[in-house]
């Protein structure tokens, strides 16, 4: 590796190691006897941390102008948040399939 290539790579290597560690933790959790909500919360928490690291450092969004960062983040968060309206219907369907009570 040349000097030019090494320039500024240290930060990315640190983020890469963080990502490897977080991913390893996810696999450890995957092999533990954790079920249901606890499993989902732990997995998604680690996935969100990974997302922040990748978007801010690997995709270099952190070095863009703040107004552009807000543009990307606010729109994304709005879309991802509104997609959660599916859960009420998903649990209704689950309840029906388990108890055969209520609208199908």
């Amino acid at each position: 590796m040349t000097t030019a290539e090494r320039h500024g790579i240290g930060k990315y290597v640190a983020v890469y190691i963080c990502l490897l560690v977080i991913t390893a933790l996810q696999f450890v959790i995957g092999y533990q006897n954790i079920q249901g909500t606890q499993l989902v919360v732990r997995m998604l928490t680690f996935a969100i941390i990974e997302t922040l690291l990748v978007v801010l450092f690997f995709m270099n969004l952190g070095s863009e102008k703040p107004v552009f960062v807000k543009f990307v983040v606010y729109f994304m968060l709005f879309v991802l948040a509104t997609m959660n309206y599916i859960w009420t219907d998903s649990f209704r369907l689950l309840l029906f399939r388990l108890t055969k009570v209520g609208p199908s």
Partner: protein
Amino acid sequence: MSEAHVTMGAHTAAPMEAPPFAIPSKKLAMWLFVMADVMTFAACVAAYAFTRNATPDWPRPFHSVTAVAVMTVIMLTSGLTMLIALGAAKAGDKAGAFRWMMITAVAGIIFTLLHIRDWMGMIDQGVGLLHNPWGTAAFGASFYAITGFSLLHISIGTIALIIVAIRYQGGRYNADDIEIVSIFWQFVGLVWLFIVPVVYLMNQTPAAR
């Protein structure tokens, strides 16, 4: 006629608003594409999560996730090699940038082959789009839809990497073009980091835990 009109008529070019994002248009286009693609993937994952949550007999067929772990390490490492390529390109090291981009592309090819091998293993076990040996038929369709969409992105990304690397080597592209393909490559890697826990780790066979 108002004073404002008279003033505007006297000057041929009206003062323009400063560009708010101040980034190159190609890069903005890639970010807009990534934002649209996030919505597509989010819709796929939301549909998967809806079905998974609403199905009591959802299969948990993954005994071992070693291959998935290897694929994840390859994907993460390719993200780093892509950044090394970008750093080299910005520093004017053309040969270094080309070399690291090709290393990234090779990682993409290995990932794709491992992914196809994973699919072949699932097909050998009898998992199809509309049937599987374990439970609800929706499992196969949702599994192939999400992983297939990711695989399609990674395949296209690998081809794009090779094309951009060759054109950069030939002098037709510059470091800005490498940065644009880098944004896409990091994005497909990020998507894989969501697919691993949602599709594989949460569906491991209880005995494997």
